[in-house]
Subunit: 130 residues, 2 copies
DNA sequence: TGCCATAGTTACCCAAGAGAGAGTATTGAG
DNA sequence: CTCAATACTCTCTCTTGGGTAACTATGGCA
């Protein structure tokens, strides 16, 4: 990591447009609603089984959970461990990469929690203005 | 496996489930592809006009840009300033709230930039296995 | 007189996203 | 012999996201 102390966004940093495209693409993939919620769950509760996740993540369907987990596995964010027993037992846990993403998103969660009120008030004001 | 109860930092620990629902909802809204890209653009270049944004944000259509900007305005993330001249001139700039969101997402951008390679390699490995 | 630019809005349409629910494989328990 | 449990997979359907393109308003300019 080239930046020693503070992480700050430098508008003048020279950015290869191809890299920027890839970054945008990756963010589009990773900043998906279900991915975020699954990530949060795995951060909070560590290793989880499939049905455990489907119970914990509010409103997710089996299909979406499978799909999301497959993508996360492909992207190297989670590890899928199959125990060859009957009934089947499959466990999911975050990789280091997944964990680091969770930390990166931590700021966003904190922001959301801290600014719920402001957003709610902004909406009321906006809707009142017509 | 580290013992679960030993995890000392947990930003989501004592959370009212209703608040958590709202936070998740807000994150779902704010972590939208176009919102993120527009936010990034406004962070980098400050105040922008409509067509300037549509030129800068890669691949966005007029419709999506309008829609995204309206939502961001409603959520209190941007300010829309109309100059009553002909031809029309409308400027968009981030509010303090929008700026703080940009900073919160900064960690994610840094993460994406730093881990592009790892994700790419993980995908190759996964696809080779499958 | 008619054209241009700006910042939209509106209508139409298609494809992707996502939910519901049934089907599948396995085998030990009753 | 049937059932229950797990972790899916498949199909069918509906909703939403998002693209294209045409339309609006206005005053300066040729």
């Amino acid at each position: 990591m080239p930046t020693p102390e503070k992480i700050s966004y430098d508008p003048h940093a020279p950015v290869d447009p191809r890299v920027e495209t890839l970054v945008n693409e990756l963010i589009g993939r990773v900043a998906d609603k279900w991915t975020l919620l699954v990530l949060e769950e795995l951060e909070d509760h560590g290793t989880c089984r499939f049905t455990e996740l489907s119970r914990r993540v509010p409103g997710i369907s089996q299909k979406m959970l499978t799909q999301t987990l497959r993508q996360m596995e492909r992207d190297g964010l989670v590890v899928r461990t199959v125990h060859p027993v009957v009934p089947p037992k499959v466990e999911y846990c975050l990789t280091d990469l997944g964990h680091s993403l969770g930390e990166a998103f931590c700021g966003v969660w904190v922001w959301a929690e801290a600014n719920l009120e402001k957003v709610a008030r902004a909406r009321l004001a906006f809707d009142a203005r017509g």
